[in-house]
């Protein structure tokens, strides 16, 4: 993948398709989230929903890692575990080399001031009775970062960063459009010592013309502030635009992870290929040319044995029904499949 000259963090980052970088900012290590829905008379779990199952990934300083997948793939649960809205049932999450799962008190507060979350529906996450000024000022007061005149200045600075006129600070959330509310949500996420923002479908509810404004804003802020994003979404074009690397999830598992360009140029997992095929191009002369994936995503309560994708996979054989494939491949491009698609000839990265 080409180095993107417009991004300022090049000195810190390494080419994503090369050897795995040494110091991830955030490291997810074999994390699972299983919900026990019913226990038997001995109190042992009987019906278990595996929302996320043994997922590992690394987020580097200054990069955007995209996570794509359809509903029920576990991408949102994964995001919530990173900000400790949900607790993993297994595995570990390390921030700057240190586990965050045992954090409490001041340490947890510090973690939460550095790792922020923005939601699909900013309206649901903004207090309707608070003016924009207070929405932005409150976290800074709670964390004791600014007060008095410096606090005021900081609020106006944040509004300016996200393109909201300072005069609007006395307004309430309902007085803004969806796009403006998302800008306010972003301003709030930036108000502390933010290093990482977990973005969960931040533009899915927006009109396409507004979506482009928000995506560009996120990219600009990343460049000027050196932020890292974990960007969760289902829209392929959106994820590819914003991400340096992309992880594809299916039924609680990562099935493929690669540099963004590489993933689309030569997907190796049949599910990734099917997702790309299902993406509607905006060229009416290419219509109808795609592999239609049969069936629907199975229930995560009783995920299929072996490879979880096998019931929908056109290439499935006995081994897929019996054995769960692990993530394999070289450092930059890995995939979990017994019968990976052939790498396109001559198309590999230089």
């Amino acid at each position: 993948m080409r180095e993107n000259k417009e991004r300022p963090q090049d000195s810190v980052e390494q080419a994503p398709t090369a050897v795995e970088p040494v110091h991830p900012l955030l490291e997810v290590d074999g994390v699972s989230k299983h919900y026990t829905l019913r226990r038997n008379w001995l109190g042992r779990p009987e019906v278990v929903l595996q929302a996320v199952d043994r997922v590992s990934l690394k987020l580097m300083q200054g990069e955007t890692l995209g996570v794509i997948g359809e509903s029920g793939c576990g991408k949102s649960t994964l995001g919530k575990m990173l900000v400790r809205i949900e607790e993993p049932t297994a595995g570990d999450i390390r921030y700057q080399g240190k586990s965050i799962l045992g954090l409490s008190g001041q340490e947890l507060k510090r973690y939460r001031s550095e790792v922020q979350f923005i939601f699909q529906d900013p309206y649901a996450s903004l207090n309707p009775r608070q003016k924009v000024f207070d929405i932005l000022a409150e976290p800074m007061k709670v964390h004791g970062l600014y007060e008095g005149e410096r606090l005021n200045r900081r609020v106006y600075e944040l509004l300016d960063m996200v393109g909201i006129p300072g005069a609007y600070s006395e307004r309430y959330p309902h007085e803004f459009s969806g796009g403006q509310r998302q800008r306010i949500g972003i301003a709030r996420a930036l108000s502390l010592n933010t290093k990482i923002i977990v973005c969960d479908e931040p533009v899915s509810a927006l009109d396409v013309s507004i979506q482009a404004q928000i995506l560009n804003l996120l990219r600009e802020l990343q460049q000027s502030l050196g932020l890292s994003y974990l960007f969760i979404a289902h829209g392929l074009g959106v994820v590819k635009y914003i991400s340096r690397r992309i992880a594809v999830m299916y039924l609680g598992k990562i099935v493929e992870i690669a540099g963004a360009e590489e993933l689309f140029r030569q997907p190796r997992h049949p599910y990734t290929k099917a997702l790309i095929d299902a993406h509607l191009t905006v060229n009416p002369r290419e219509r109808g040319r795609r592999m239609l994936l049969a069936g629907e995503v199975p229930n995560a309560i009783n995920p299929p044995r072996g490879c979880r994708f096998h019931p929908r996979c056109p290439f499935a054989t006995d081994v897929c029904r019996e054995q769960e494939p692990g993530l394999e491949g070289d450092g930059g491009h890995r995939f979990a499949c017994h019968h990976p698609l052939a790498a396109a000839k001559g198309a590999s990265a230089p």
Binding site: V208, K240, E296
Partner: protein, 341 residues
Amino acid sequence: MEKQAAIGRQPAIEVEHLQVQFKTESGYVTTVEDVSFSVRAGETLCIVGESGSGKSVTSLAIMGLLDAGGRVSGGQVRILGEDVVRYSRRQWDRVRGKDIAMIFQEPMSALNPAYTIGNQLIEQIVKHRKWPRSRAEQHAVELLAQVGISRPKEILKEYPHQLSGGMRQRVMIAMALSCEPKILIADEPTTALDVTIQAQILSLLKEMQEKYGLAIILITHDMGVVSEMADRVLVMYAGQVVEESDVFTLFEQHRHPYTKGLMECIPHLDLDPSEWLQVIPGTVPSFTDMPEGCRFQSRCPFVRDICRRQDPGLTALDGGHRVRCWMVREPELFRKEGDPT
């Protein structure tokens, strides 16, 4: 029967100068203005636009389904040749479901959660076709099989909440087709679905269109859906049609700056990662505060004085291509003041 014969010679549905108004505290506000189009059997018209463009209100007006505050204040809607704008509720009952049917973004809101799929589907067939229950049930099973449901008999006994989103949309399509309508309005039918399921549903709609010769009006915000499905396209902005053409012209030779902006702000998969997305600055004006002249003026990079004074109206070009823009109507004006492109 005579209706059957009429199809082919004339469009299944014709809308002329449709105007819709809604009551507000400060009187009536016009939210859809001067919308005209026609759709023939077997043809798909996509109406594309963002929130507030009037695309959904247009579809509800056509179906006679405007809420209490809304009214069709001008124009005609002819379904199989008959103007239905002044139809009473009873007259609508004979047309709706039978000649024209509709499917929505969220089938859950159109299905009754308290009744089984079978109850709702069979009842509708009995009501419209006056068939005995056993025959209607037989037909219901066939319909569900046709829309790709693998266990139709079991699904009849299930409740809407027991089905996935994709399955519910299939059931909705089966219900819509149960009385063999000539016209199907699909309002964002795949917006709530995952991409792999969206591809399945769009392909099903095409299959059903071929089988029944449906005239389809597909309302969407997604240019990908338009590109996949449309024969003709209406682009709406702030309650008006700003561009209309066949699908190839729309994607390859669009003339309205808004259409151009819409196309460019989509993050294509082949966009170079170092490039930035084009944006349409600003937001849609509100209906209570609509500017004089062109409604896109505040967001248009090519705006001139004339755009602020007078609405350009639709200019007709070759092949049924129509554009609401001064650059198309009076290109001279734009050359004189300096080349905008």
